[in-house]
Symmetry: none
Subunit: 422 residues, 2 copies
């Protein structure tokens, strides 16, 4: 099966936003073993969109379009698909009802433009949008299929995961053809190039499964991809390679597939029946934000005290003035005192902290931008770590939060290993 991606939006042609949708879909489709040979971007222009659709439909079995499904006059994807496939646009009742109840909830009087979104090509299967008002659709047309999803990344992703990817998986593998199975190993405390160096021989020697190092925002991943008749056979191909990688890089492997670092840490806390608090300076709340992205985190996460000023560190976290005066607000001692103070303030079993210089200003020769300390209290003696992080302000914040969570992960893991009681 061949599939083409069609990204619709003038803002993509003006270079105002990166086409992250296409990259996301391409990766997911490659995991399903679906070949993507072309990706086309066109602006919000009816004629050019229709022409691009015709070209794609002549080459591929399935065309997956993103963008142009919104409520405005610029949103022309549904009309273009209808035109090219010869279908009429009709209002889908369920989609219209969803929009009406949304408008009622918001007290909107005028929502004709929203209702436009419920108009889909006749005969299309509507793809529900769990996080917005614009539905998508799947339309069979002759031997082709056209799939349209909105361009807002969160909506597109939710709809792809819930409806479109499972649909494509069924469509492309009705019987005994090879499936592609990927296993992603997630690493902490090691970069992509170091990861690759440790297993260069494995990467070179392997053809099935293949091994690909992937650089993610604040961590490295390894993707092992096997092609086999079925899932069990693919698992069998992956298992020995994964075991060898674990043997070499095990210390850095914290999770697999969709398990984020915050989810893994949350699971460990839940199993150990430990509660957690945080004290944040340079991360500004990002550690708390990441921890609370995990559903159910209120079971073990008490909260985070963001103390940006020295006064707040002293008043709310009980960091001794003396410690700040002697070692500075950005120091291992202050980080430890912050963690201990958060543990005290929230009455939690353990606490994690970070303090550092996110930049662009505030750095000195002795304490440059990117210098960050993370600490843990409540699992034996409080421990602190020093990091020298690269990047702009947001990157230093992101890497500091990652470092704090990875320290927490290791502390919880070694606690388990040596059997420290709660």
């Amino acid at each position: 099966m061949q599939l083409e991606l069609l990204s619709v939006g003038t803002e993509l042609l003006l270079g105002e936003i990166l086409d992250t949708n296409a990259a996301y879909l391409a990766e997911k489709l490659s995991e399903l073993g679906i070949n993507v040979y072309h990706k086309t971007t066109v602006g919000d222009n009816a004629e050019r969109l229709a022409a691009a659709l015709r070209i794609s439909l002549a080459r591929a079995d399935v065309v997956l379009a993103t963008g142009g499904l919104g409520p405005t006059e610029d949103d022309i994807t549904a009309a273009a698909v209808a035109q090219v496939t010869g279908a009429d646009l009709v209002e889908d009742e369920a989609a219209a009802d969803t929009i009406r109840s949304f408008a009622r909830q918001r007290g909107l009087r005028q929502f004709d433009s929203l209702l436009k979104q419920a108009r889909v090509p006749k005969g299309a299967q509507v793809v529900p949008n769990p996080v917005g008002t614009a539905p998508g659709f799947i339309l069979a047309s002759g031997s082709n299929t056209v799939i349209a999803l909105p361009g807002v990344p969160a909506e597109m992703k939710a709809m792809a995961e819930q409806t479109v990817l499972p649909y494509l998986e069924r469509l492309c593998a009705p019987d005994g053809r090879a499936i592609i199975l990927s296993r992603v190993l997630r690493l902490g405390g090691i970069g992509e190039s170091q990861t690759e160096a440790e297993i260069a021989d494995l990467i070179r020697a392997q053809t099935n499964p293949t091994i690909a190092p992937l650089a993610r925002e604040y961590e490295a991943h390894l993707r092992i991809t096997a092609r086999a008749p079925d899932r069990a056979a693919a698992d069998k191909l992956i298992a020995p390679i994964e075991a060898e990688i674990r043997r070499r890089l095990g210390d850095h492997l914290y999770g697999a597939d969709e398990e984020t670092l915050e989810a893994v840490v949350g699971k460990m806390l839940r199993e150990a029946r430990l509660t957690l608090a945080a004290a944040e300076s340079c991360t500004g709340g990002l550690i708390g934000h990441r921890l609370t992205n995990v559903p159910g985190s209120s079971d073990y996460f008490a909260g985070s005290l963001v103390t940006y000023s020295n006064e707040a560190k002293t008043a709310l976290l009980n960091v001794p003035e003396e410690t700040i005066r002697r070692h500075g607000a950005v120091s291992a001692d202050t980080a430890r005192a912050m963690a201990e103070g958060a543990r005290e303030a929230y009455g939690s079993d353990i606490a994690v902290s970070s303090t550092g210089i996110a930049g662009p200003s505030g750095g000195t020769a002795a304490k440059p931008v990117g210098l960050v300390y993370t600490a843990i209290a409540g699992l034996g003696d409080a421990i602190a770590e020093e990091h020298r992080l690269r990047g702009n302000r947001e990157m230093v914040k992101g890497r500091a939060a990652q470092a704090a969570l990875y320290l927490l992960y290791r502390a919880l893991r070694s606690r388990k290993a040596v059997g420290v009681a709660k």
Copy 2:
């Protein structure tokens, strides 16, 4: 003049990397006033690349390809261009010399594969590569021009800036050329469809400048784009349209171009010499994270108290147990008490808070997932707002943080309007 972008590389189709080259070129070309109506991505496959080139050449005056000019067997762009235009591949002496001297410098013995890069279509103008070994080329073919650049972003950019963009500038505007200037207006508290409804007549009536509503993650933007001989003339075209939009939507316009909501709020706080604290429940630290993404925010932002449990709300924010028992942790009263508590705890002038149900669990019929209260204390009486937000956990968190910052923005703005003293 019409130009198409052609990105060559299987890794782009696998979603392993984002196509930042195309976004960079699109932006630069738009600044030159060159229309880009299509952008196509193909893999490292000779047949499909040649076919895509033919389609692009039939539609556009100029095709600008990136990628596939390296030394490996996968690098097939020069050969495909030669094939489609009927030119032979010949070795360019200057380019070959550059590669030989590079190889000598590095002590490379075998560099036949590098020398392959010096082979360009006969008659092409070579584009020197100041930061790598792969040269690019510009080939006139009939009424068309094909430009090829390597895919490594740093090389592509250096070559585009040094040779290709100046070349295109001369090509498309031998005299009196036009520039394109965009102005982005940023809105809060109003969706994309409502925004468009308010100015639908303007959007329809305008051709220069054009007006386009854009849906961003948690807010709507309006982009006004003018084409004019120079910047001053473009500004003059934009000004009356911007004034009319401000007249109709002014209440919702909080900033322009690159000004984020947190940066605008920060600027208002700095000018008013007011300090800010936050109290967060469902946002988990995201309000603090966004406020501290602004460089220099430590001047006015004291910190945020993330209180996930009722106990922490009472112990650290002094929210009366009675308030939580009577109205619930998710209520206007608790939100107000949280804001007052944060103001007290940090000794700040004002404080903003949010409490709500981010889901997926924890909702009831009376208090469903997405119900969020935001509040402000310290500018007259504490005020609270109720929101019913859609989306998954991360979206509810994101929208709640946006709502809190927007409430803060309005409170600061009306304070200014009525002249409330600090």
